[in-house]
């Protein structure tokens, strides 16, 4: 089988598996685990577009996640907008914030660690703003009343939430799939590998990076929209604090940034590790993050391409060994 057919087959198999999960996993606890992993996947896939393919590492993805969550909550609570319409507006709001931060940072040529820092600072500005005004609920945050029904984008069972989130993850993965195969994706990779060379080849690097940022921000704001409909509560720390920004890059870095399945793989490894450490420690606060940090260091040290690069590494090692025995 050629690689293309193989990967399509693999994706179809994975899709089938995820579609069947609620048939076998009935408990709220079990489905909650899958939902958490899918939420990491969605955030991770969003980060992957900008950080993995375009090579622009964001440390402030919570700016987009939080915008989605807050816009969704405010539109429903204060303006009585229909949740489906609100979700669309929240998506656009997230994309607009992405365009704003992106155009400023890229216009002034920030890259690498500087770009990471400026995105973090923007997220912190938004955290302070959300914490200071009345219409964002100030320090106490916003609570969305639970009114289950498809028209309200709220559901009484977790299975429905699961399928909604699965659809969003599928959408994000489809975007990345398209990026991998499109000319636009090649531009992104060219910029990641050598921005000056890409510019010399006639790629409009500013515009290309900006589009990647807007796409990435739009996907992240969808994660925020889902978050508020599922957890029904948001405050400035949850929405714009560092936790979500960190979650956004952990999954792709562990799974493999700049690959289609890396963020999904990483998200489930993180989710599993989090559950495991929680059970072993009896639910001590923060122990899962210690585990994530150790795992991240190990991956950076021994598998810099992430888990997705593992099969190729093993293949290479086997091949070189085979070559050695043949020569001998």
């Amino acid at each position: 089988m050629s690689g293309e057919i193989k990967s399509t087959f693999g994706l179809a198999l994975a899709a089938l598996f995820f579609l069947c999960v609620p048939l076998f996993v009935k408990s709220d606890f079990g489905l909650g685990f899958f939902i958490l992993c899918l939420l990491y996947s969605l955030l991770g896939q969003s980060w992957n577009i900008l950080g993995g393919y375009a090579g622009q590492m964001s440390f402030g993805h919570s700016a987009f996640f939080g915008t989605g969550a807050y816009a969704m909550a405010i539109l429903q609570l204060k303006l009585g907008v229909n949740p489906w319409l609100a979700a669309l507006v929240a998506l656009l709001a997230g994309a607009a914030i992405g365009a704003f931060i992106g155009s400023l940072s890229f216009r002034y040529g920030l890259k690498g660690s500087y770009f990471a820092l400026v995105t973090l600072a923007f997220a912190e500005v938004m955290r302070v703003l959300a914490n200071s005004f009345e219409f964002t609920g100030g320090g106490s945050g916003l609570l969305v009343p639970f009114k289950p029904g498809a028209a309200n984008l709220q559901f009484s069972g977790r299975a429905a939430y699961y399928y909604l989130l699965l659809a969003l993850v599928a959408l994000a993965t489809a975007i990345v799939w398209w990026i991998e195969r499109s000319r636009f994706g090649s531009y992104l990779v060219a910029i990641r590998e050598d921005e000056q060379a890409a510019q010399a080849l006639g790629i409009n690097t500013f515009r290309t990076k900006l589009i990647a940022m807007v796409l990435s921000a739009a996907v992240a704001s969808l994660a925020g929209v889902f978050y508020i409909q599922y957890y029904l509560f948001v405050d400035s720390g949850i929405a714009f604090g560092p936790t979500m920004s960190i979650e956004a890059f952990l999954a792709p870095l562990i799974g493999g940034a700049g690959t289609l399945v890396g963020p999904l793989l990483g998200a489930f490894v993180l989710g599993g590790l989090g559950r495991l450490t929680e059970q072993l420690s009896g639910g001590a606060a923060g122990i899962n993050l210690i585990g994530f940090g150790v795992l991240l260091l190990l991956i950076l040290r021994f598998l810099p391409d992430g888990l997705a690069g593992l099969p190729r590494r093993i293949g290479k090692a086997l091949q070189s060994r085979r070559g050695a025995t043949q020569r001998a």
């Binding site: 590492m57 440390f59 400023l104 940072s105 002034y108 920030l110 690498g112 660690s113 500087y114 990471a116 820092l117 400026v118 973090l120 600072a121 923007f122 912190e124 500005v125 302070v128 703003l129 914490n131 200071s132 100030g138 320090g139 560092p242 960190i246 890059f249 870095l253 001590a284 606060a285 923060g286 122990i287 993050l289 210690i290 994530f292 940090g293 150790v294 991240l296 260091l297 950076l300 040290r301 810099p304």
Partner: protein
């Protein structure tokens, strides 16, 4: 419009707070200037140093100012080992790897502290904690005034070390031209780790000076790390005098924006300055132009 006396008092207060920011930032600017590493774990190391000074006082009865002589060498070793054996092997020629590695270290350290020492806010009660200097228009706590002068002295020590010692010359050589430095026989890995160690030792000194007038929680590192980055960027990456002036400037901005915008919204001042400096003048107020 607040009373001029209130403004003056708040500026003075800002200067002393700013000198603490400068203290924390001095080590960070050294690490950045030499290794071109953005060390995200800097705040977490400060937090650990604060706890170390706290336990020195509560368990061993050592005054924080004296504990400095114990903690500064200890934290030099911590920083040296951290760079040499955990951060350096991850670099693979990419600065971004280092940034992520230091984030991972920060996650481990912060949450480890949460696990060990819980999120309880702790303070110590030293005899001189309530000492106050009356300036006529404003009162200043003694411990803050000590921290201010210590910041100036430590910045001068850092500067003198860089200019007058062989170690300083080696560090500058490595910062400027790594390969050339290696060619003339400088052990680059050792200099990297030494710089990281000195930067971390600076954090220990800052912690000892900070403790008498500050509180500790496991989250305190994150609060400081962003302010320290802002200070470093504002002062020009790698400039000690810049860090000193930048820190004090930030303290004043924070105090004034708190005064005018209120406690919650006032925090925005520092982040806005950070963004504007990064965008418009990434070399800082005292930095050399890029490439120099």
């Amino acid at each position: 419009m607040p009373d001029p006396a209130v403004i003056f008092a708040s500026v003075l207060n800002g200067i002393t707070t700013g000198s603490i920011y400068a203290l924390v930032a001095l080590g960070l600017t050294l690490i950045y200037g030499v290794l071109h590493i953005i060390n995200f774990a800097h705040g977490s190391l400060l937090m650990v140093a604060l706890y170390a000074a706290f336990f020195c006082y509560t368990l061993l009865g050592i005054d924080p100012y004296l504990a400095m002589f114990l903690l500064v060498p200890a934290f030099f070793c911590v920083g040296y080992l951290l760079q040499r054996y955990i951060i350096a092997p991850i670099r693979f020629g990419r600065d971004q790897n280092v940034l992520i590695a230091t984030v991972a270290v920060a996650m481990i350290v912060d949450n480890g502290a949460l696990l060990l020492w819980t999120s309880t806010t702790r303070t110590i009660d030293v005899p001189y904690a309530n000492g106050i200097i009356d300036l006529g228009v404003a009162f200043l706590p003694v411990s803050r005034v000590v921290a201010f002068f210590a910041a100036v002295v430590i910045a001068l020590i850092f500067w003198a070390m860089m200019v007058f010692t062989d170690l300083g010359r080696a560090i500058r050589a490595v910062a400027r031209e790594q390969h050339g430095a290696r060619l003339v026989g400088i052990n680059v890995d050792h200099i990297y780790a030494t710089s990281f160690g000195i930067g971390t030792a600076g954090v220990a000194a800052a912690a000892c000076l900070l403790l008498p007038s500050f509180y500790i929680t496991p989250q305190v590192g994150y609060t400081f790390v962003l302010v320290a980055f802002t200070t470093v960027v504002l002062g020009g990456m790698g400039s000690f005098i810049g860090a000193l002036v930048g820190g004090i400037l930030l303290g004043v901005v924070e105090a004034l924006s708190g005064l005018y915008l209120g406690e919650s919204l006032g925090q925005i001042g520092i982040f806005l300055i950070f963004i504007i400096v990064l965008l418009v003048r990434p070399d800082g107020l005292f930095g050399r132009a890029a490439g120099a």
